[in-house]
């Protein structure tokens, strides 16, 4: 939670700098964000490849629960596509791109800003932060209404870190491995799906 607050803090700080024109040069005219994004994705790849232990733990996973990340992805995309009928001025691919953040607000907002501009990037940031907050707050209700797998699906890409404690508390300790596996797979799908929906 503290980490999330600092990230949002940097966004707010940047917004204030932008409104008050505090920076001596126009950072949006430079390519800094593109190169930083390249460096970020390279580093993310390094950290995933460098940690084979996580992959080994997945051997103890109930094989039937392998489908859970697929359900999360398909369900979220279906829901986002339905929302595009309400938000008539947004195209269906814009809505799908925002939905494909699955709560991974830092990466999805950065990607969408790079491809589609700051407005949709801000929507992605807000929508995916609220998904994480919604999961943290509503997990007990989700378990009661939609079964023990529901908070895991709602948590999307965050179920291997920020929402893991609330999931184990509400759904049960036996869902730790599937929760981490789910977070890992959904996390990994974010750059691919966001790039896909931004390019079609």
């Amino acid at each position: 939670m503290k980490g999330s607050l600092i990230i949002v803090g940097f966004f707010v700080l940047g917004t204030i700098c932008g409104v008050c024109h505090l920076l001596p040069f126009d950072i949006t005219e430079t390519n800094i964000s593109y190169y930083a994004l390249c460096a970020l994705m390279f580093s993310v790849g390094l950290s995933v490849g460098n940690d084979p232990q996580t992959l080994k733990n997945f051997r103890s996973l109930n094989p039937r629960l392998v489908f859970l990340p697929i359900m999360t992805i398909l369900g979220t995309l279906a829901g986002s596509a339905a929302v595009s009928l309400i938000l008539t001025h947004r195209s269906i691919t814009d809505c799908l791109a925002v939905g494909s953040g699955f709560g991974y607000y830092s990466l999805s907002s950065i990607f969408i800003t790079e491809y589609k501009g700051a407005e949709l990037g801000t929507i992605a940031l807000l929508a995916n932060i609220s998904r994480e907050i919604l999961t943290l707050l509503a997990a007990p209700l989700l378990v009661r209404w939609f079964g023990n797998l529901a908070p895991i699906s709602a948590g999307g890409a965050t179920t291997m870190d920020t929402t893991l404690p609330i999931i184990t508390r509400t759904a049960g300790q036996q869902f730790v491995v599937v929760s981490i596996f789910h977070g890992f797979v959904v996390d990994f799908s974010v750059p691919f799906l966001v790039t896909l929906f931004c390019s079609i």
């Binding site: 940047g14 994705m41 390094l46 460098n50 940690d51 369900g75 830092s106 950065i110 992605a124 929508a127």
Partner: protein, 92 residues
């Protein structure tokens, strides 16, 4: 734009080859880059008057998208839950 995904896959391969080495610093670098990029996103938003003026509609759109996406995913999770554990239709 596929350069970025290519870079991630290269990083994964390299990370795997270097798995004997401890790359602890990498998580700090990731955090710093995320801070930098969100700071830049903030500046872009702040210096764009249209976005600042429409912030309340943008916020509303974001909330609607969150609710739609999350609702879709929990319904899918409920279907899987029913199929795997709860075939008789009782409450789990």
């Amino acid at each position: 734009m596929f350069t970025i995904i290519g870079l991630m896959l290269t990083g994964m391969l390299l990370g795997y080859l270097l798995r004997k080495r401890d790359l602890k610093k990498i998580h700090q670098i990731i955090t710093l880059l995320i801070w930098l990029l969100l700071f830049i996103l903030g500046i872009e938003v702040g210096s764009n008057e249209q976005i600042i003026k429409g912030l309340h509609t943008i916020g509303l759109e974001a909330v609607i998208l969150t609710l739609g996406g999350t609702l879709g995913s929990v319904i899918a999770a409920w279907a899987l839950w029913r199929a795997l554990y709860n075939k008789k239709g009782g409450r789990g």
